[in-house]
């Protein structure tokens, strides 16, 4: 009900008169008009391009951003006489994804043709799986959170109605200057999985959290790059509002949302818009809308045929897809003609929400850090491999604050981490054991990436970065500092009679100066104790 709060706050001024009257009437009940005024219902249709070298029914490349019309087979261009041949790899990726989303796999799925005329749809129909999808009835648990307020998070579950395979369309490029449209068929026929959810979301925050989680899941599965900015994953949202106790309202569909943020903003805007329309006595029209990220508004799309009749028909050029496990496959069936699922379902990665839960429960780590750890490709694996016998909280802080900064600056993909995990662990241990100072950690990490064949221990020795343990050397350096900065010593003395802060500032100055002189090769706590000893003698 997070969402209802938000709407009603905005509406509060406008409706204050009405509300106060109602409040009077129901004053002895715990009636809260803000929460009970409206309910919003949101369902999603997600189109995810399946990672594959070639298209769903042809051998053409699926590479992103190729020159226009260079990745088009004769089938993709609907040249007469061509026929589709199903790409097995894509079906397998669909199966893995469906299983990871908790869906029930269909033993037999079939392809249908969905008809409509558009210039970037060469055959006049899209091959999809309307009636017999690859899988149905999934459940996904996901974490709803808001990066602006990490304390407010919750667990939700969304139902998946079905997962189906289908072709992507081409692209229309509208050249307004010359008043013409140009068609790029590179994308035409790329394999998509359409994931349809039940209307289980109440607002943009829930829906966008779900999408974020789904993207992460697909990336873990390596079945979709999840790159929304490249159009590899697009979201359509069906949105309606109604008053509690009344039937669901008329829905609108906001199409082609291409970032997690847009999903949230578009849905919240559309809910507000619909409520505004209804409260002004207007009706909601069942229509398709687009989202303008600049203005943050949804806009009705021109829909020439109000009620599209897609005239679904079985695709006669493709055989049904049969799934078996190695035990259930009937005698005499050629394994080349069916898909055996056993090996596909082995070693599925765990879901992001399971990871959040596990880390949160095992190590009592803040949700924020759990999210960072899980969302950064490869980071969780590093953590899991080296956390044993180490302080988990300190390790996560090290990974997020020290390690990730260096890795990001070097654009390193942690899924293919170029250094052994034990090297990372070694740096952490050196930091924890104060073998090196915090100030030298970044430098050691950088050198670690520079010299992946050397252990951090060897590097530190070679570059002389380890803390100086010889107290005499340290004391000599501290004495030098005191001699050079008599005014700071003076301030320290004055500060002794004051509060804590007055004492700290000069000490910090002395330590920092000495650290710099020692190339950060000291434990500052040791320096403080030396200084305290030296100063107390004065």
């Amino acid at each position: 009900m997070v969402y209802s709060n938000r709407i009603s706050l905005r509406r509060l001024c406008r409706l204050s008169f009405l509300v106060s009257r109602h409040n009077r009437h129901y004053s002895n009940l715990s009636y809260n008009p803000r929460e009970q005024e409206w309910r919003s219902v949101v369902g999603l249709e997600i189109h995810a391009q399946i990672q594959s070298e070639s298209k769903l029914f042809s051998g053409a490349s699926t590479k992103y951003a190729g020159s226009t019309n260079t990745q088009v087979s004769i089938f993709d261009a609907a040249i007469p006489g061509t026929l589709p041949v199903l790409n097995r790899h894509i079906v397998e990726a669909g199966i893995r994804t469906a299983a990871a989303l908790g869906c029930k796999l269909s033993q037999m799925s079939k392809f249908d043709r969905k008809h409509y005329f558009y210039a970037d749809l060469p055959a006049g129909y899209q091959i999809t799986q309307q009636r017999h999808p690859l899988a149905r009835n999934g459940k996904v648990k996901y974490l709803v959170y808001n990066t602006d307020n990490w304390n407010k998070y919750s667990w939700k579950t969304a139902s998946i109605i079905q997962l189906q395979l289908e072709q992507d369309s081409g692209k229309s490029l509208h050249d307004a200057d010359q008043n013409r449209s140009l068609i790029d068929l590179n994308r035409a026929g790329v394999g998509l999985m359409e994931i349809v959810t039940a209307p289980d979301f109440t607002d943009g925050e829930e829906a966008s959290s779900f999408v974020r989680e789904l993207v992460l899941m697909l990336r873990r599965l390596e079945t979709c790059s999840g790159r929304m900015e490249e159009g590899a994953l697009r979201v359509d949202a069906n949105i309606s509002v109604h008053r509690p106790g009344e039937p669901l309202g008329v829905r609108t569909e906001v199409k082609n949302l291409n970032s997690v943020k847009s999903v949230g903003r578009a849905i919240d805007y559309e809910i507000k818009r619909q409520i505004g329309e209804l409260e002004s006595g207007r009706e909601i029209v069942n229509e398709t809308r687009s989202f303008d990220a600049q203005s943050g508004q949804t806009i009705a799309m021109r829909d020439k045929e109000k009620l599209q009749d897609y005239r679904f028909m079985p695709e006669p050029n493709l055989l049904p897809v049969f799934l078996y496990d190695s035990k259930s496959v009937p005698m005499g069936v050629d394994p080349a003609n069916v898909i055996i699922t056993d090996h596909l379902l082995q070693g599925l990665p765990s879901s992001p929400s399971k990871s959040y839960e596990r880390i949160h429960d095992d190590h009592k780590i803040s949700i924020r850090n759990c999210v960072i750890l899980v969302n950064e490709d490869g980071l969780l694996k590093i953590f899991d491999e080296i956390v044993e016998r180490r302080d988990a909280k300190a390790l996560i802080n090290f990974l997020i604050a020290d390690f990730l900064g260096v890795a990001h600056a070097r654009d390193i993909n942690l899924l293919q981490c170029p250094v052994p995990f034990r090297h990372i662990a070694e740096v952490f241990d050196m930091k924890t054991n104060r073998y090196i100072s915090n100030d030298n950690v970044t430098q050691v990490l950088e050198l670690m990436f520079d010299f992946p064949n050397k252990t951090p221990g060897e590097i530190v020795k070679e570059k002389e970065l380890e803390n100086i343990q010889d107290l005499e050397v340290l004391q000599a350096e501290c004495e030098k500092t005191l001699l050079k900065h008599p005014n700071v010593v003076q301030r320290w003395k004055v500060g002794q009679q004051k509060e804590k802060k007055g004492r700290q500032d000069p000490m910090l100055k002395l330590v920092n100066t000495t650290m710099t002189a020692l190339n950060n090769r000291a434990n500052p706590l040791v320096l403080i104790s030396i200084f305290e000893k030296l100063l107390s003698k004065k």
Binding site: A78, V85, A123, Y125, S181, R311, M313, P316
Partner: protein
């Protein structure tokens, strides 16, 4: 050169008493002499002569020769040949050139066949008389006042008039067999899935099948052997289809009936056992056929939108008018009629009543045939319920025209193979064809039957 079966010609070719070049020149000559019949939409004079010379050279060198070495074949113009026109008998594709070879073309050429040209047909294979062709109908060689049948009318006349040894046609609801019957030649429609459809421009994908028209059973057998077989580019190829099969004998011309019955008795006297059969659902076959094929056709022809290839109306001002005008002007009447019918039966609210029901009936018809084939090897029927008809006689009444497919569509609904072979002439001097239907993937039996029939009753 009077007609001889290919194996006889092959002997002379092997011996060197005749060359491929001479064979090709002979046929090209006949093609010229029969130009008034309007058989060919493209003739590959240069290409065929060059290929013939190459083949002769090949023989000269003693290289191994293909199964169809020197066989002159014509191809229906809805089958793709690389860099040749592919009109489908339609203005829509009048100037369209194919980018690739159909699988059947590749297979013919691999066996050293000589392709002479592309032949006329009903527009997008929709018609039973050749009258829907945008390029004018082909005339029946037997009597030019009569239609050659359709949609593979060009292929049938190409064979009957002696312009080639064998022609490829396509059969969606009888389009090989009915013209074969009307032109007094053999027409074989193999089991659905037997021959790859890759490179065949789709009319109704789950019905379409490439077939062979020829003078002799042995030629039909040889060519089918070459073009059949699994093709990874057609997912439905070589998929075993549940055998089934159909026939129904109402509305049958009395004289044709007598002629066929006489042949049946003759077969019996030669040792065949006649078993009367019943196919309970066959009377629904024509309705079922026209619902399902028009639906598939409306979908398959959606791609002809003037965007990428084919006819585009120059006066169109925006996308919608380009679609409407290009399709309105590019397609002929019969094709448009079927697109409209198909669009209607697929539209929401009607799908269950028409398309879905027809699919269920198709399954019943298939099962009927399956049951029958538990008892018999071959099912016999006339190929066409009537004699060849005159130009214009049925063109104005589509239902009358559709009835010409009565005996042939059941085979396509069931997916089984069937062959039409000349059974004699009526008192009017017009030919009658007899149809042998076989079990799925059992082309062998019906070809054997055909050969037996030809040997004993025709020669």
């Amino acid at each position: 050169m009077t007609y001889k079966p290919y194996h006889e010609l092959r002997r002379s070719l092997n011996e060197g008493t005749i060359t491929c070049r001479e064979v090709v020149e002979h046929y090209l000559n006949v093609i010229q002499q029969t130009a008034h019949l309007n058989i060919y939409l493209s003739v590959f004079t240069k290409r065929a002569i060059e290929k013939a010379d190459l083949l002769d050279m090949k023989r000269h060198k003693g290289a191994p020769l293909g199964k169809l070495f020197g066989m002159c074949i014509s191809i229906k113009d809805n089958i793709a040949i690389k860099e040749e026109r592919l009109t489908c008998g339609s203005k829509m594709l009048e100037n369209y050139t194919s980018l690739f070879n159909a699988t059947v073309v590749e297979r013919l050429e691999r066996e050293d066949a000589l392709i002479l040209g592309k032949v006329n047909m009903d527009e997008f294979a929709m018609g039973s008389s050749n009258e829907t062709s945008a390029f004018g109908a082909t005339k029946n060689f037997i009597n030019e006042d009569y239609v050659p049948g359709g949609s593979s009318g060009g292929s049938a006349v190409a064979v009957s008039s002696g312009t080639c040894m064998v022609a490829l046609g396509t059969d969606t609801g009888g389009s090989v067999r009915q013209p074969a019957s009307f032109c007094n030649v053999i027409g074989l429609k193999p089991t659905y899935g037997r021959v790859s459809r890759y490179g065949l421009v789709a009319f109704a994908s789950s019905f379409d099948q490439i077939g062979v028209l020829s003078h002799s059973a042995s030629d039909a057998a040889l060519v089918s052997e070459v073009i059949s077989g699994y093709d990874e580019r057609d997912s439905t190829s070589s998929q075993s289809v549940v055998p089934s099969y159909s026939i129904h004998l109402d509305d049958l011309n009395v004289e044709i009936r007598c002629l066929i019955e006489a042949k049946l008795e003759a077969l019996q006297s030669r040792g065949a056992t006649l078993v009367p059969i019943s196919l309970p659902h066959i009377s629904y076959s024509l309705a079922t056929y026209y619902i399902l094929t028009t639906a598939e056709a409306s979908s398959n022809l959606a791609r002809y939108d003037g965007v990428r290839y084919g006819y585009r109306d120059k006066e169109a001002s925006d996308l919608m008018s380009m679609y409407v005008q290009s399709r309105n002007k590019g397609f002929g009447k019969e094709v448009k009629r079927r697109i409209m019918l198909g669009t209607y039966v697929l539209s929401s609210g009607y799908y269950d009543a028409y398309f879905k029901k027809a699919q269920q009936v198709r399954r019943l018809i298939r099962d009927d045939f399956m049951k029958v084939f538990e008892k018999v090897d071959v099912v016999v029927s006339p190929t066409s319920p009537s004699f060849p008809f005159k130009f214009g006689e049925k063109a104005s009444n589509p239902i009358d025209m559709y009835l010409a497919d009565t005996f042939t569509v059941g085979v396509n609904l069931a997916g089984i193979p069937a062959v039409s072979i000349p059974a004699g002439l009526g008192t009017n001097g017009l030919p009658v064809g007899i149809q042998f239907m076989g079990k799925a993937y059992d082309e062998q039996t019906i070809l054997n039957m055909c050969h037996f029939f030809e040997t004993h009753f025709i020669a």
